[in-house]
Each structure stands twice: as structure tokens, then as C-alpha cells.
């Protein structure tokens, strides 16, 4: 018996209001597992270079994985796939919470959304009853209020949706679910907004099957034991959340500060996970089926930011609105976090954008008048919170920043490109790329642009997790480029597999669960044989397909596998990497070779054959 997959998906045309239930392709299941693999496969068929990311021809795919909705630890993920309006290339996001499992219980592996509705609508999925409903009363509402309203109308249902940022086609707009769960770096929220789709409400009461219940329970015991014994998943994450990283990253000189000028921040301690636990933390919580418990429920009781209440802020958010903007006020960061959730903004990109504007202001490239009258110096947290609102509503400077940091720099000119922290148009994340050479490589080659999660290799190079699994002679030195492509490739296996199977990356981030354990969870639930070798092939196949989509469908050039000059030319001013730059070219060469790509970064013809990507090979140049 097949388990995991429901075997059915929804194909929704918003232009014609036609809703069809279709059968998931068996070969796709076998070759791509789910999540970002399915998305890339579907986009390959449907996209070409002329697809306007914000036009009705773009498609938005809300995806799950085979383990979403199961008891596999963290089996809660939903994914979103699309052509990104921010980067012009492959767009992908992942969210946790409860919405993904509910979609499975409603009976669907994924939903394809096409076209554009004439009026604002929301999609209502109640098991096999699927309808488009008027969303006129919700348009303009923030994401929290939208959720509260829809939960009243549809008791027990889970709500995924966008905020004003998505409606206003802000390119750092995300898709949110379950109030606090975000997905869609690269503007999935704007794509959803461009389709006049405000939300997707799901209620499901069907079962997700398991092929081998006893086999599953056996491997579950084993992986749970691993999770409960590993310091990252048993102590650091549950005790301090993802912000457990702040102090460590700062000590390694890897905590991006003042728009990535440096990797050390004097106020790190004040914005750390430890400080959060002492001050604004109310309660530790979990997403669905998660035993890592990294969620922070926080509340500010007094002072300027009294009344702020949300889940988070996560490490990325603490860095984006904290040290990158020079802000050491945790309550101000919590405010920005809550408002980003309400507005439906990507905290990573929004923080990058504001830090960019702050540096331009300090460098005299932007005047106070051009900054919406704000005294936008680093550390000015009130100005930061105001600009965040202006970004979502495209007010003044916010309208320029709403196009993403790459385009904003083009518009502003005056040498501002130098301060725009992005790869391929996607804003950078919370790792300083001179202090962790490997992470520079990871960001440069990630298929969705400046992305820290392809694998998060600093777990190995900075924190030393996975020493037994990754065989490197001697201690891995994060500030030398040698052998780093091997680290990234080694860590990709498990990391990318969680982009497909429905589990959260935090199960593998610090080499907690092994590829063999992931394979066993997959095969006991689905009944489809899986081992490490096959898992590796699926991962390589997916990465190469996404790469091909970028190169041959979206017109990306391999020369875009690069980093801002700040990392390649400006030596780090402080920390262990002081005086060093990122030596990307050395690592790239090695990475291409290990991936089966030529020296320029194009996949080799025979690679398509060994990976079973003949359909790509057949269409090259078409």
C-alpha cells in the first residue's frame, strides 16, 4: 500500500474560476519526491523566458512533501514554488505550522494557482468541496486580522494568506500561514497578490496513510532518540530558539553588522536568545509534529514597545532588524518582527533593505528628505520601524525599496550598488561571508539566490557539528577556502532532501539526522524504496533541474554565481577573519566539478543522462 502521498492535486484557474482535481504523476513522485522537486518539475513544463512573474501567466504552486502531516519529526512543511519577481529566477519558500498537514488531510498533495481573478478572492478547501469566495471584505486587511476573520467564518480551518505587502506587489512580500509561519523568499506574496488571491483556507478530515506502520515506529524511535540526544535539537533550540546562534556567531565574527560591513556587534548579548529567554519570552512552543520546540512566544509588557506580542523573533529576524541595522533593542526588534508578520513581509529581505538605506543615509547618498524625513542612522530603531511600514505601503523611499535591493540600487544610482547586499537579486541573510568561506559559496550557488539554507554549512565549519560525518583532515578552518566545496556538497544531501520530503531543515541543520535515517522514514511511510544512494541522486537531480530552469528558462548566466564586492574585495574589519576576503572563485571551480557541471557552470550533457533528466537535455536550446 502506498502511504504519505494523497495522490491528488488541485489545479485552480483564477481567470476562469475553474477548479479541477487531478492525479499526481507517478514518475514525478519517483523522480522528485515532493516540495521543491515537484515545483521545479512543474515550472520546467510551464515557464519560458517571457513569463512575467507578476503576470497571470506565472503560476504559484502550494506544495507539501510526502511526510507532511505524518508523525515523522517536524512533518509539517508546506512549500511555495513560482518564478520570482525579485530575482527573475526560480522562487521557492518553505513554511511550517499547521496549514501544510491540513492540506494533506483535505486530500491534496499540492495546489497549482494560475491566471488572475478579476476581483479579490480566497480559495476555500473543505475536503472535496473547493470553492472560490469573495475576499472584498478582507482586501487591505493585515494578515493577522485576515486570519482571525476567516477562522470565524470557517471554524477549525487553517489559514494561509498575504498581508498588505503582497497586495501592493512589494517584492519582499511573503506568504504566511498559521499567524506566524512564513514562506516565500523572493516575493511569493507579491505573486499571490498579483493574482488577486488573498488567502487559502483549508479544513481536512481525511487520513494520510502509512505503508509500514511497525517499520515506521521502529525508525521513529531511533530518530527521536537522535533528536533528544543531540545538543542542537535537545538543548540549544528548545532553550533559546534559533536566536541561540547570536552569541556564537558574534564570537566567530560571523554576525552581519551594519549592512554587512563587519561580522561583530557590540550589542550582540542584548539581542541574544539567552537575553530573550530572560526578558520577553512567555512560552516555548512547537509547529505541528515537532519535537525540537524552537518556537518562542514573546510579549513586551512595558515601555515604548509595550503590547507587542508574536511568535519569534527568529535568529534571521534578530540579525536583520538587529545588528544589520545596528539595533541592540530586542523589544524594537520584536516590534518589527510582529509588524512584518502582520504586513506579510520577509523579515530577512526587509531588514536588508532598511540596513541598505541606513548605510546610504550615513554615506550621504540619501538625504533625510529622501528617507521620508527619517533620521535614518544605524541604530535608530524608531526610524527602522517606520520605514518597515512605508515599505509595505510603498510610501516614498518605501516605494523604491519595494522593488528589492538590486533594483532599488539601480534606481538610486550614485554608487549605491556597492551597498546592495544580494545574490541574483535576493537579499542576503544572517551569515557574514568572509568569516565563513563555505557559506559564501552556498549563497553564491543557491538556486533561489542569496540563500543561507541550501545547507547551512557554518554548522560544521564554525560550530563543529558533523565532524564524524564529514571527513576532513584536521579542524575545518572557516576562513580558508580549501575543501569547502566538499563540505557544502556533503551537507547538501540531507539539507536539500528536507526541501522535498516535508520535514523541517532544523532536523538536519546541525547534522542531527542522517541521510540514512531520512531515507528510512521516507520508505516506511510511502512504501517506495529509498536508500542513501537514491536520496543523493534525487537531490542532485533536483538541484540540476532547478539550475537548468534558471539557465535555460529564465536566462540566468553562471557569472551571477557571485557575491557583493563587499565580501570579495573589502577585507573584514574585525573578528577572526580580519583582513580576509571571500575567495569564491577557488571554491566555485571545485563546486562545479563536484556537481557534474562544466567550468563555466553549465551542467554537462552526460550529467543529464546519469540523473535521468533526458527531458531537459531534449529541450536544451528550445
Amino acid at each position: 500500500m502506498r502511504g504519505g502521498y494523497t495522490g491528488t492535486y488541485l489545479d485552480v484557474n483564477l481567470t476562469t474560476s475553474q477548479i479541477e482535481k487531478k492525479t499526481v504523476d507517478e514518475k514525478m513522485i519517483h523522480d522528485f519526491v515532493g516540495g521543491g522537486g515537484f515545483s521545479a518539475r512543474i515550472l520546467w513544463e510551464e515557464m519560458d523566458a517571457s513569463t512575467d512573474p507578476l503576470g497571470p501567466e506565472n503560476i504559484l504552486i502550494l506544495m507539501t512533501g510526502p511526510l507532511t502531516g505524518t508523525l515523522a519529526p517536524t512533518g509539517n512543511c508546506w512549500y511555495v514554488g513560482f518564478r520570482s519577481p525579485t530575482t527573475g529566477i526560480y522562487g521557492e519558500g518553505r513554511g511550517g505550522g499547521y496549514w501544510g498537514p491540513e492540506l494533506k488531510y483535505a486530500g491534496y498533495d499540492y495546489v497549482i494557482l494560475r491566471g488572475k481573478s478579476e476581483k479579490p478572492v480566497y480559495l476555500n478547501i473543505h475536503n472535496d468541496q473547493v470553492t472560490l469566495e469573495d475576499a472584498g471584505h478582507l482586501w487591505g486587511m493585515d494578515y493577522f486580522d485576515t486570519t482571525y476573520k476567516l477562522e470565524e467564518t470557517h471554524p477549525g480551518a487553517k489559514v494561509l494568506g498575504i498581508g498588505p505587502a503582497g497586495e501592493n506587489l512589494v517584492k519582499s512580500a511573503i506568504v504566511m500561514s498559521d499567524l506566524y509561519r512564513a514562506g516565500g523568499r523572493g516575493g511569493a506574496g507579491a505573486v499571490m497578490g498579483s493574482k488577486n488571491l488573498k488567502a487559502i483556507v483549508v479544513y481536512g478530515s481525511n487520513s494520510v496513510r502509512v505503508a509500514d506502520p511497525e517499520g515506521f515506529k521502529t525508525i521513529l524511535d531511533e530518530v527521536n532518540k537522535t533528536i533528544y540526544e543531540h545538543p542542537a535539537t535537545a538543548q540549544l533550540m528548545p532553550d533559546y530558539g534559533t536566536a541561540c546562534l547570536v552569541n556564537g556567531m558574534n564570537a566567530f565574527g560571523a554576525l552581519p553588522t551594519h549592512n554587512h560591513k563587519s561580522g561583530t556587534f557590540d550589542g550582540a548579548e542584548k539581542i541574544s536568545g539567552e537575553k530573550m529567554a530572560e526578558t520577553i519570552l512567555v512560552k516555548t512552543r512547537s509547529c505541528f509534529a515537532c519535537n525540537i520546540k524552537c518556537t518562542r512566544y514573546t510579549k513586551v509588557d512595558e515601555g515604548e514597545y509595550a503590547g507587542v506580542e508574536s511568535e519569534g523573533p527568529e535568529y534571521e529576524t534578530v540579525n536583520a532588524f538587529g545588528s544589520r541595522c545596528g539595533v541592540d533593542n530586542l523589544e524594537a526588534i520584536a516590534m518589527a518582527n510582529m509588524n512584518a508578520n502582520r504586513l506579510g513581509l520577509d523579515t530577512i529581505s526587509a531588514g536588508t533593505m532598511i540596513a541598505f538605506a541606513m548605510e546610504l543615509y550615513e554615506e550621504g547618498i540619501l538625504t533625510q528628505e529622501e528617507c521620508n524625513g527619517l533620521d535614518l542612522r544605524f541604530a535608530s530603531h524608531q526610524a527602522m520601524n517606520t520605514l518597515l511600514q512605508d515599505l509595505a505601503y510603498r510610501k516614498g523611499l518605501g516605494d523604491i525599496l519595494a522593488e528589492g535591493v538590486r533594483t532599488a540600487a539601480e534606481k538610486i544610482g550614485k554608487g549605491s550598488e556597492k551597498y546592495a547586499m544580494h545574490v541574483k537579486g535576493l537579499e542576503l541573510t544572517a551569515t557574514e561571508l568572509r568569516s565563513a568561506q563555505d557559506s559564501g559559496l552556498g549563497h553564491a550557488v543557491a538556486n533561489r539566490g542569496g540563500d543561507h539554507l541550501r545547507p547551512w554549512s557554518p554548522a560544521f565549519t564554525l560550530f563543529g557539528f558533523g565532524q564524524a560525518e564529514i571527513d576532513l583532515s584536521g579542524t575545518p578552518d572557516p576562513i580558508v577556502p580549501e575543501d569547502k566545496a566538499r563540505v557544502v556538497k556533503a551537507m547538501e544531501k540531507a539539507a536539500i532532501f528536507t526541501d522535498l520530503n516535508g520535514m523541517c531543515k532544523f532536523t538536519v541543520l546541525c547534522n542531527t539526522l542522517s541521510p540514512a535515517q531520512l531515507a528510512r522514514l521516507y520508505e516506511t511511510i510511502t512504501g517506495i524504496p529509498m536508500d542513501v544512494e537514491r536520496l543523493e541522486t534525487v537531490v542532485e537531480r533536483t538541484l540540476t533541474l532547478q539550475r537548468s530552469l534558471n539557465l535555460y528558462r529564465y536566462g540566468m548566466k553562471p557569472a551571477q554565481d557571485t557575491l557583493p564586492d563587499r565580501f570579495l574585495k573589502e577585507p573584514a574589519p574585525s573578528g577572526p577573519a580580519e583582513g580576509k576576503v571571500n575567495e569564491l572563485s577557488l571554491m566555485l571551480k571545485e563546486y562545479y566539478e563536484k556537481s557534474g557541471w562544466d567550468e563555466q557552470g553549465y551542467p554537462l550533457t552526460e550529467r543529464y543522462e546519469t540523473l535521468g533528466l533526458e527531458f531537459v537535455k531534449a529541450q536544451l536550446g528550445k
Binding site: G69, Y105, S205, S207, V210, Y228, R285, S286, F288, K293
Partner: protein, 147 residues
């Protein structure tokens, strides 16, 4: 009053075997729901689970699970006497074949610990199964077995 407080108030009256949900410990992961449906039904389906977690505002995470109360309003309300107590264990049990799926017991339970099977065929409640897989799986010791 939460079921936990209520349960503690009543626990002295009779020594029934029971599972108790502790909202102070619950983190809202709902792994108990998946464990229950896997153990008893061989599928993953929270709506077939005999324990269901309420997640609400102000960071509320509350596991609703029958603690085998003395007066059992569910049994009193049942029009076909499908809910009866096992005298040996003190556990209230539903005779699935007798149950007509009317849902009166769901409304009668003051603790939200009685559920309807999703197709509406019969009611579901915790009958303290042998494996207690929910308790085994809970990552935060939010379910306790008491006897």
C-alpha cells in the same frame, strides 16, 4: 476551571485509570494526535485521535483528553446507553456498534474531551489503551497516566 484543575479536585473520589493532559507543559505540537491515530487506526489523522489539542490566543496549548470523570455527563446524555463504565478499571467505554453518531455526548462533555469520528458515524474518546503511545511520543511530558 481547566480540566486539569478539575481532574485534580476529583481524583480522590475514585481510582480510575486515566490519562491527564497538562496545559502547563503542552507546546502544541499535536504529536499525541498523530500517535493516537497511528496506534489505534494505523493512519495519520488528528480527527480520528482520542486526544485533541486546542491551540488558541495568548499562547494557549491545551490537550483535551477524557479523565474518566465520576458523573460522566456524556454517559448520562447518551440516548442509546452506548457509554458504559468498566467496573474493574473505572474507564468509560463507547460501544461503537451501539453508538448512533448523534453527537449529544460531544455537546454534553464539559471538558471538550469527546469527539466525533469525521464521517459522523460514532463518537471517540480516550479509553486508556494499552500502548499509551500518545504519552510515549509527547516531547514535553504533557500527558500523564494516573491510576
Amino acid at each position: 476551571m481547566s480540566p486539569t484543575d478539575e481532574q485534580q479536585k476529583r481524583s480522590g473520589k475514585r481510582m480510575a485509570e486515566k490519562m491527564v493532559g497538562l496545559k502547563e507543559k503542552c507546546v502544541g505540537c499535536r504529536m499525541c494526535e498523530l500517535a493516537c491515530s497511528l496506534n489505534l487506526e494505523n493512519v495519520f489523522n488528528p480527527k480520528l485521535s482520542r486526544v485533541q489539542v486546542e491551540r488558541g490566543g495568548n499562547a494557549l496549548d491545551l490537550p483535551h483528553i477524557c479523565f474518566q470523570c465520576d458523573d460522566a455527563p456524556c454517559a448520562e446524555a447518551c440516548p442509546v446507553d452506548a457509554i458504559t463504565m468498566n467496573e474493574a478499571t473505572g474507564i468509560w467505554q463507547i460501544a461503537k456498534d451501539t453508538c448512533i453518531g448523534c453527537g449529544v455526548c460531544v455537546d454534553a462533555c464539559p471538558y471538550g474531551a469527546m469527539f466525533m469520528e469525521p464521517k459522523g458515524s460514532y463518537a471517540l474518546k480516550c479509553e486508556v489503551c494499552e500502548g499509551q503511545y500518545c504519552k510515549t511520543i509527547c516531547p514535553n511530558k504533557a500527558l500523564e497516566y494516573q491510576a
